[in-house]
Amino acid sequence: MKNDIQSEAYLRMLKIRGFEQAVKQLVTEGEVPGAVHSSVGQEAAIVGACMALADDDYISGTHRSHGHPIGKGAQLKPLMAEILGKVTGVCKGRGGSMHFTDTSVGSIGESAIVGGGIPIATGAALTAQVKGTGQVALTFFGDGASNEGVLAECLNMAAVWKLPVIFFCENNGYAAVTPAKDSHGQPDVARRAEGYGVPGVIVDGQDFDAVYAATQTAVARARAGEGPTLIEAKTYRFDEHCVGLFINGAYRPAEEIAHFMSERDPVTLYRNLLLDGDKSEGDLSEIEAMADGLIQEAVSFAKESAYPDPEEAFELVHANPISIRR
């Protein structure tokens, strides 16, 4: 693989796509405990944002959690093992799909509480500011999460304190089965930012370059001490809200789904863009093979890993331990 931005971006998108396909397969096999939410369709938004960050910058995220740490560069094996609840999982089997965290790549936590990652990242930005580390924090959240009041609170505090934080909304048009248009007083989440003194930017979330550029601008602003930015990436999820969820009634038009899958697939769009540029089919196949290999390895690793011992449930509750009452 060529060690350039484009190849790396394409690889990360493929890793997300492949990881999600593998997870869906594992669900079918009955290997996955709990609920999983796939990021398929949203890869360009995620990777575009992450590639604009430095390795030690922070990210926080959501229940739709797999893409974010992968986009930030996390190893796949411990993530896949976590999905299966194995002791080798990145959270030692305590977090599962909705709570991926990999501090080794600056991933400080996906939150199953919608909106929960927003103050976490804002607080990480506060640390960066107080300690003068130059780090930036970026928080991924959905269009649905944007209706949690805590977003308004954090936008405002970040503006007041000029915190180096980027509020990154993956607006995929739906919160579970509720269309954004039925739950937003006006459609653009980015337009909410201005009222708090925060610049709001809308980008095409299916276009890696657009997302990457917008995030780079926001990162530069944050690092320069000029404060937060809200970026809204208009995107689409290709899968159901939750893998395997039975939805009682059609909440989104079949044509809409078909349109996005055939015309607006971020991986295909990026592949074509690279081919139009200076990448060859060979270059891309090499990257694709590499992604496949990594995913196969991760699946094998996860399957072969052991489950935690039940007694481990009583460990790691506190950093300064107390005796646990049973």
Partner: protein, 325 residues
């Protein structure tokens, strides 16, 4: 209740039936919650006009508070908070407003709002989706708190909650959603708030059960019966107000009590029940009170770690046997 007046259905369908009946029966009843029109718990709103079924934005604090404003001005809102962990986001309007507005205004209002919260656990969803938060709300005067353990009680208590003129939180045990039982079809059927129910009579040991633990308690009682130990099994059903008479009544029968409660040990509902026993029933107690509860750890994701944490029939039977020894 004659056979013909009941229908076998799941706990979830019983909740849905309760909602439909109350929505159809009273034009002041409305329901608010996320994704409620399409896939919310119970669904089935019958002939209710759309304006009374509000699929809300993800704004728990806001709509839980709005429901208070609606309740004091003449509606009877049902707020489906869905997974119980989200109730913390709505804690302020529930505690600071709903619970005390009537009192603080010298009785100018009643606050007929119902909050539904479904306690997910045993489902590998990890700590942010696996709480059983009823104990904290038991400490809030002005509220009422119910925890139905059967489809019949699910219907009857949810209906009672909706009809009650005070704020009531209905904590559902999600593990029971798919379980079936006979449910009265009478639209006037309600289960009175504040009354426990005896599910099995016995004279050796009492098992006082909270929420979904009832089925484990009954299994344990079967097992104990095989050893000639007769358990008196009661389901509290309402946790605020507690049915002190029932708690002391079963103690009077047996002198030995096991409390089964899916909440964490420290300050679970079992703590208050034990306190009542030792304060008001001391002279009847032949043995220490035993609590079969969930240990004080956040709920882990991985099933081999999660599953053993909760009360189960074996733990209950073992505790009862210790008291009989």
């Amino acid at each position: 209740m004659t056979e013909s007046n009941t229908k076998r259905m799941t706990y979830l369908d019983a909740l849905g039936l309760a909602q439909r009946e109350e929505l159809e029966g009273n034009p002041d009843t409305i329901i608010i919650g996320e994704d409620i029109a399409l896939y919310a718990a119970g669904g089935a709103y019958g002939n209710t006009e759309a304006s009374r079924i509000r699929s809300a934005p993800i704004s728990e604090c806001g709509f839980a508070g709005m429901a208070v404003g609606a309740a004091i001005t003449g509606l009877r809102p049902i707020v489906d908070l869905t997974i119980a962990n989200f109730i913390y986001l709505a804690a302020d309007p529930i505690i600071n407003q709903a619970a005390r507005l009537r009192y603080m205004t010298g009785g100018q209002f009643k606050v007929p709002v119902t909050y539904r919260a479904s306690m997910w656990h045993s489902q590998a969803n990890a700590a942010q989706h696996s709480d059983r938060p009823y104990p904290m709300f038991m400490n809030i005067p002005g509220l009422k708190v119910v925890c139905p353990a059967t489809p019949e009680d699910a219907k009857g208590l949810l209906k009672a909650a909706i009809r009650d003129d005070d704020p009531v939180i209905v904590f559902e045990d999600n593990d029971l959603w798919g379980k079936k039982g006979d449910v009265p079809l009478d639209t006037e059927f309600v289960v009175p708030i504040g009354k426990a129910r005896t599910h099995r009579e016995g004279s050796d040991v009492s098992i006082i059960s909270v929420s979904g633990c009832l089925r484990h308690a009954l299994k344990a009682a079967d097992d104990l019966a095989r050893d000639g130990i007769n358990a008196d099994v009661i389901d509290l059903r309402t946790l605020l107000p507690l049915d002190n008479d029932a708690i002391l009544g079963t103690l009077a029968k047996t002198g030995r009590v096991v409390i089964v409660d899916p909440a964490h040990r420290t300050m679970g509902a079992a703590a208050e029940i034990a306190a009542i026993l030792v304060e008001d029933g001391f002279d009847m107690l032949k043995k220490p009170v035993k609590r079969v509860v969930t240990p004080d750890v956040p709920i882990p994701f991985s099933p081999p770690m999660e599953a053993p944490l909760y009360p189960n029939p074996e733990k209950i039977a073992a505790a009862a046997r210790e008291l009989m020894a």
